[in-house]
């Protein structure tokens, strides 16, 4: 079966690496994906008029029909907006985190484990809230890390806000949020959202990686995490 793939603006620009890594892992797991032709921006959180925001993603749903009504959307903002605009429920919309499960990863050839490493899984907001649009397995990052020997920290802040939504209007808030998160956790931050990546990376002195880095490292496709 072929899946529609919606990269969105971040993944074709500032988070290009997340796009490449995600495509590679999906392919390795046996998913066939095809980019939605001529997709447009989902509007992220920049539109105060809800109808206007929904309309942008509805356009994308229409365009997806050319490939498949089952859509994979990596960026949490795009993923959420697509799900919100799927009011009649005609489409199935997934985040790649829904596909990255431990059982499937275990079937691959694992070359390295995560022993003696400490991580803070960090989901942020949109992947987990509101409930209607949340990912299926709310512990997926922890499950992958612990299954391969890594240690977890920062359980209490995993769904606190990074303040990334205000990054380009009121960055003092973003800085406050990141300071709070960093002060209550330790180890390498593991994220899936490009905005969380940028916020944590800018305002903390800790290493920030995507969960895809970890998977590719275990598969021997990357030297370092």
């Amino acid at each position: 079966m072929e899946y529609s793939y919606y990269p969105g603006c971040s993944l074709t620009g500032s988070a290009k690496r997340l796009d490449m890594a995600t495509r590679k892992i999906l392919l390795t797991l046996g998913y066939t994906i095809k980019e939605i032709p001529e997709w447009n921006c989902c509007g992220a959180v920049e539109y105060g008029n809800k109808e206007e925001l929904i309309r942008l993603s509805r356009e994308n749903l229409k365009k997806a029909e050319a490939v498949s009504k089952t859509i994979i959307a990596p960026c949490p903002a795009c993923y959420r907006n697509l799900k919100e605009s799927n009011r009649d429920g005609d489409f199935n919309i997934y985040n790649p985190l829904d596909m990255f499960n431990v059982a499937d990863i275990n079937k691959l050839e694992i070359k390295k484990d995560l022993k003696k490493m400490v991580f803070t899984p960090y989901y942020g907001c949109v992947l987990l809230r509101p409930k209607e649009t949340a990912i299926k397995n709310r512990n997926i990052i922890e499950e992958i890390i612990t299954n391969f020997g890594g240690e977890i920290d920062g359980e209490k802040i995993r769904d606190r806000c990074c303040g990334g939504n205000l990054f380009f209007s009121n960055k003092e808030m973003t800085e406050k949020c990141v300071n709070l998160i960093a002060s209550r956790s330790k180890g390498i931050f593991v994220v899936y959202c490009p905005l969380c990546h940028m916020a944590l990376n800018t305002f903390s002195n800790r290493k920030v990686v995507y969960i895809t880095n970890i998977i590719l490292y275990m598969l021997g496709e990357r030297k370092n995490i």
Partner: protein, 149 residues
């Protein structure tokens, strides 16, 4: 006020569903920083047509984390109400305006365009000092203008 309500996607009577329990305030991210945020108060002001909403700390600082929504018995989407207010009062930053400008030209975000259009704002507000940490986000690509299909 009508425009705000229309933008939220709610009807006016939906605002009266709020129980006044203030669970939202107890989980609001802003209150981790003692910013005295009360989403319930904001909803009430909208219901009552009170114009003092502009002074509410949520208008400037709500981070759209949906913690309030998640905890609310009615799952009321306060951040979407805040965004509707910001849009109605035209409070978006030059960066956000450039973001929408890019979408209206190309149908997508094209970072160099946004960067150039918001450069004054970025300099004035001290964003350029982060450039060293942003090198990994810079990737060269040409703008792609969406064709109608």
């Amino acid at each position: 006020m009508e425009k705000i309500i229309a933008y939220t996607g709610y009807k006016k009577k939906d605002f009266s569903a709020c129980l006044g329990c203030k669970i939202c305030a107890s989980v609001c991210t802003l209150n981790d920083f003692s910013m005295h945020a009360n989403p319930q108060g904001l909803l009430l002001k909208i219901l009552l047509g009170d114009n003092t909403i502009t002074d509410d700390p949520l208008i400037k600082n709500c981070v759209s984390c949906y913690r309030c929504t998640d905890a609310c018995p009615w799952q009321i989407r306060v951040p979407e109400v805040v965004r509707a207010i910001r849009e109605t009062l035209e409070l978006s930053s030059p960066f956000e305006k450039a973001f929408k400008g890019s979408i209206s030209i190309w149908g997508r975000v094209y970072e160099p365009y946004i960067f150039m259009n918001a450069i004054g704002f970025l300099i004035k507000n001290g964003y350029l000092k982060h450039l060293m940490k942003w090198t990994e986000y810079i990737s060269f690509h040409l703008p792609h203008k969406i064709k109608r299909i």
